[in-house]
């Protein structure tokens, strides 16, 4: 059973035991507009919370995706290289960016749960 967390930088992280999947939220993809390029980290890359982990480019802007927690990347979503549109169409599913093994599960305590993120986004509008 996985648990979903969110960051103020509009990333989601779905945690199952000590492994997690990271992507950007529906709000983020809407703000970016059509995504045209995604660069994901390679397996084995060690990330510290807050590090630049991935790059996402849309017709409007290029942005970084930051590591929401520390850990070691186990897989980047290679499909996004050829099909960046998945980030727009299914940001919480097919459009995931990378998976990692958590270094410190305690870092999750700083993140938002779905309800908190929803009200965070409402506050931005």
């Amino acid at each position: 059973m996985s648990t979903l967390y969110f960051t103020e930088d509009h990333e989601w992280i779905s945690v199952d035991g000590d492994t997690a999947t990271v992507g950007i939220t529906d709000y983020a993809q809407q703000q970016l507009g059509d995504v045209v390029f995604v660069e994901v980290p390679e397996a084995g890359k060690v990330l510290t919370k807050g590090d630049e982990a991935a790059v996402v480019e849309s017709v409007k802007a290029a942005s970084e995706v930051y590591a929401p927690v520390s850990g070691t990347v186990t897989e980047g979503n290679a499909d996004l290289a050829d099909a960046p549109a998945a980030v727009n169409e299914d940001p919480m599913g097919e459009g995931w960016f990378f998976k990692l093994t958590l270094a410190d599960a305690g870092e999750l305590d700083d993140l938002m749960d779905p309800a908190a993120y929803e009200s965070f986004v409402k506050g931005l509008e």
């Binding site: 059509d34 017709v59 409007k60 802007a61 960046p84």
Partner: protein
Amino acid sequence: MSPATPTPTLTGNRGLHIEEPLIFEQGHPDKCGVDLPEPADKPDRLGGLARSGPIGLPGLSEPEVVRHYTRLSQKNYAIDSGFYPLGSCTMKHNPRLNERLARLPGFADLHPFQPEATVQGALAVMHRLSAWLLGLTGMEAVALSPGAGAHGELCGMQAIRAALDARGDDGRRVVLVPDSAHGTNPATAALCGFRVRGIPGDARGRVDLAAFKAALDDGVAGVMLTNPNTCGLFETDILALSEAVHAAGAYFYLDGANFNAIVGRVKIADLGVDAMHINLHKTFSTPHGGGGPGAGPTVLSPALAPFAPLPYVVHDGAGYRLVEHVEGNARPFGRMKGFHGQFGVFVRALAYIMSMGRDGLHRASGDAVLNANYLLARLGEALTPSFEGPCMHEALFDDRFLKGTGVSTLDFAKAMLDEGFHPMTMYFPLVVHGAMLMEPTETESRDSLDAFCDAVLALAAKAKAGDAAFFTHAPRHTPRRRLDETRAARHPVLRWEPPAPTRAAE
């Protein structure tokens, strides 16, 4: 038929807007613009590398070639054809006097390997330009060689790195960059081996002084600031910022991209700056933006001057001399270019500076700021200025005035094309939503500013009246309508492919 869809013509041409195919689509291998005799039978000296088949070059007659490129040039929009209000790029008039001087054979036909005795005039230009740049900034040393703004940043940050290395301070590897910075700033810092730490802005669009001071520690090598910043605002705390930087043992890099707003009015040295690049092509009116090379000379403070890169020009008893090797106590960090920089741009910039004079430069920066404030004042009611004025050389608006209309900043910009204006900078800086950044420069008269404002105000009224389709279908009158930017980025067609040959009937 509605005005949105004008009657198509048989040719695809619209009046004098010619629908011009690619040159490859027009050419034919049997046509040729020149008529040369076949060479006499000579021994093959190509060593087996002679062409084995056709390479697909288009064949056209000379008038066809001339028309092709003339028609393409007519699709261009440039500062010579109309108002070009890009913020963050300073598109100002390029006086023709500059061009005339740059084309003098003694300047245009030089070779960088010529003996010094034969290029004394050219070295004098570099020497005099250096003196002007140092005079206008109050700084200690200048490197003319950087090829453009970002290259100038690289030069300044390399000097900072060299100074830190010289004092054995290799623990300092963090560079502070505000949120509103030009994208080249963090890129430069990273290229020099620094880590970038972002600094938030405050509600006034300036650097948050408290957050800035809190971020300064003994790991900080330097800070890269733009002043006026990319929101078009003067950093009012700049003295407190530079004092804090120096107290922390770090260096202060000023991004000089917006120097045109303060030239002749602010001595950069008085701000506590250690290094700054000067975009000659922006500040001193040389053609750029796809139309010509830039130049990004970098001025350095006394603390960094010993590390200035080679070469530089000196004047002594024997005349002007290019210093290309270490002399005296100097510890140059290296060179920025194989040769000496964009010499043609030096001539243009010096021609501009000398024809304007000190008083003229002072007037130009004042007029640039006045014009931007005129836009802010005339458009400020209907559009939504992001920060309280007055502004400096550019006026920043965001898309709050479009909220609920179904019209985006991009749609608005497309509609401006139909009105005959190059749109302003869009979606930059990133610190405001749907940014529209306008920089009129001192080039524009009040009449041209009014024509622009009238068009923008009419469009704003139309958007607020609910006519979203008018915007989402714009532009209507350009050679091409709305492009599919997403498809262009996801599936770019980078190369023309000849059509498959028609199959002969079997």
